[in-house]
């Protein structure tokens, strides 16, 4: 676009429309936040609308007194960290292997890529998980996510674009395939691995249906699932907390309400994403450009 141009009516409209779209996208996040730090009584009546009223942060302390929530946070965190590490490692290694003269390489590559385009359906999948013993099992959060064809394609394409001479010279020096992978390939492909790590961790953190389908053991509940339940049951939890804290020593305005619990738990769920988002934002633009259009 030309650098010097008059600010015309077109620009005015264009800026205004984009400002509006941006506000619409971001307002729910802001609204959620100001409600968690405002007077709970006003907030539960919907009177906190554009700016916080009677600032306080006790909701964030209260919310961790909810039984099971801290544990759910730990579950979410561990599945995200462990799942992401294994997904990244597997994608990197397998993507690399598929650039080597492996036995039946073409066939096995197709074998993987085809799985992107079909699935057996929910019930057969559920019954398989049941028979594999993956219901009420932490591994259900990890194992199905490890091998992901799309990520493997990304790595394979990326490895193919790196200079072959590097690998050859290492081979002459006597390095085996694994050694070449760890000392030559891995450092070269970190940009694409960062992208995969981002996608994978967001998926893991946000995943909620696998808990819904496979888990009944409360010890394995994740934050997203707990949040979903609170969306429906927040009233009774607020009641529970009122009783357990005796209500006497509490400031009435900041006593836990269904609204305060819902909003605060929501904030706890979204906070990690808000915190890391600015850092990973520059990565995924590159990542999606590499892999987006053609698989």
């Amino acid at each position: 676009m030309p650098a010097k141009e008059k600010f015309t009516l077109f620009h005015l409209i264009n800026y205004t429309v984009f400002a509006l779209i941006t506000i619409i996208c971001i307002f729910p996040f802001y609204y959620l936040f100001i409600n968690t730090i405002s007077n709970n009584d006003l907030s539960s009546r919907g009177l906190v609308m554009f700016y916080p009223k009677d600032l306080h942060f006790t909701n964030y302390l209260d919310v961790f007194r909810i039984p099971g929530l801290g544990h759910a946070a730990l579950m979410s965190l561990s599945r995200t960290v462990l799942g992401t590490l294994l997904t990244v490692a597997a994608s990197a290694f397998l993507g690399y292997l598929f650039t080597k003269p492996m036995w039946g390489r073409k066939f096995w590559y197709r074998f993987l890529v085809i799985t992107m385009y079909f699935n057996a359906g929910l019930i057969p999948w559920y019954l398989t998980m049941l028979h594999l013993g993956l219901t009420n099992n932490f591994l259900a959060y990890i194992l199905p996510f490890i091998v992901q064809p799309f990520f493997i394609i990304l790595v394979k394409t990326f490895v193919e674009s790196t200079p072959v001479a590097l690998q050859e010279s290492a081979q002459i020096d006597g390095a085996g395939y694994f050694k070449i992978f760890t000392s030559i390939i891995l450092p070269l492909i970190t940009p694409i691995l960062a992208t995969i790590a981002i996608f994978s961790s967001v998926t893991q953190w946000n995943s909620f249906t696998d808990t819904l389908f496979l888990i009944t053991d409360q010890k394995l509940f994740t934050l997203q699932f707990i949040l979903y339940r609170y969306m429906n049951e927040a009233t009774s939890i607020a009641q529970l907390m009122k009783q357990s804290s005796g209500a006497m020593d509490m400031d009435l305005a900041n006593m836990a309400t269904p609204t305060s619990i819902r909003t605060t738990v929501s904030m706890v769920v979204v906070l990690p994403i808000l915190l890391v988002y600015p850092f990973f934002q520059r990565f995924f633009v590159k990542g999606i450009m590499i892999g987006a259009v053609k698989g």
Partner: protein, 319 residues
């Protein structure tokens, strides 16, 4: 990648061949654990299609279950109640997918106009903030929806009542009047900024000289957009469009599951949610499997159609 390529005499070819033939099995063994995982989670479930031919109840082994043959399939057509259910669910699926495809031009428009913004900082802020909703879960989206639109303390109702524009609160979440549209709007809210990223990348890739040339020829802003920018991103748009046709019958269930309630179920129940509701909630495994089996076959069929369309239109297949 081939290490004994003729132009690269690293090892003499006989030695290389021997070296390789030993290695190709070793390489395969390294990949094997991952291939097993793929088999377990993607291929093994296909065996579960067998449940579509039995009257399976959880807890009773398949061998003790009654063999139904094609009864679950024929009852979709012959049993009047089931037929109506399936038709209703198909109607919802098709309506929501069509709206989804209709709104897939929005990210294109978004991208085309965003590159016209001159301030780089503003552009960056818009891009960052509009992409954010893509990274949150549907549960959280529902939580937002609840806070903004609930009857007694939602933002919208309070705002409209304050302004005196309405006299009674609107119950948007528990209303079946505009369910398809509401679901589409939520998808747009969540995906607009993210969807635009790829088009912005495509526009950045357009040769600046084409713009210069067109400008010399006297093309104005809108002509440049229409005759240079839009054709430049059409290939990307078509690939994505064809992919979404292949996915026409797969709406997923998360979004609809969280927004589902007693009031709107008539219009929100898409195929995936229906399979969940009859299979997991009502334990009707046989019928649910039959429905999802047909669904998988239809989507595979659609994918092939999309792929051959791609071959005809663009001379290139998408997979």
């Amino acid at each position: 990648m081939n290490i004994n390529h003729a132009s690269k005499p690293v090892l003499n070819s006989a030695a290389a061949k021997k070296y390789q033939s030993k290695d190709k099995y070793q390489l395969f063994l390294m990949a094997l654990p991952f291939l097993v995982l793929a088999f377990l989670f993607s291929y093994l479930p296909l065996y579960g299609w067998i449940y579509a031919f039995y009257d399976y109840r959880p807890g009773i082994p398949l061998s003790a279950s009654e063999f139904m043959g094609l009864d679950w399939f024929t009852s979709m057509v012959s049993n009047e109640i089931q037929r109506e259910e399936v038709l209703r669910v198909l109607r919802n699926t098709f309506a929501i997918s069509s709206l989804h495809i209709a709104t897939s031009v929005l990210p294109v428009i978004f991208a085309v106009f965003l590159v016209e913004i001159r301030s780089n900082r503003f552009k960056k802020i818009v891009q960052t903030l509009t992409t954010l909703p893509n990274f949150i879960s549907w549960v959280l989206v529902y939580s937002f929806a609840f806070m903004l639109f609930s009857v007694d303390n939602g933002f919208l109702n309070n705002f409209l009542l304050d302004m005196g524009w309405i006299s009674r609160p609107l119950n948007i979440l528990a209303s079946d009047d505009h369910t398809w549209m509401a679901m589409t709007l939520w998808s747009v809210w969540k995906g607009l900024g993210w969807g635009a990223i790829m088009y912005i990348a495509a526009i950045t890739g357009i040769d600046q000289e084409i713009y210069e040339a067109a400008r010399v020829d006297g093309a104005g802003r809108f002509r440049l957009m229409w005759h240079v920018t839009v054709p430049g991103i059409m290939p990307t748009f078509f690939v994505l469009l064809l992919l979404s046709i292949g996915n026409f019958i797969n709406n997923g269930m998360e979004q609809f599951y969280v927004f589902q309630n007693a009031m709107n179920t008539n219009h929100i129940e898409v195929l995936d949610l229906y399979v969940y509701n009859i299979g997991m909630t009502n334990s009707n495994f046989g019928f649910a499997t039959a429905v999802s089996m047909l669904k998988s076959l239809v989507s595979l069929f659609l994918l092939f159609i999309a792929n051959s369309m791609s071959k005809v239109i663009r001379g290139e297949s998408i997979f």
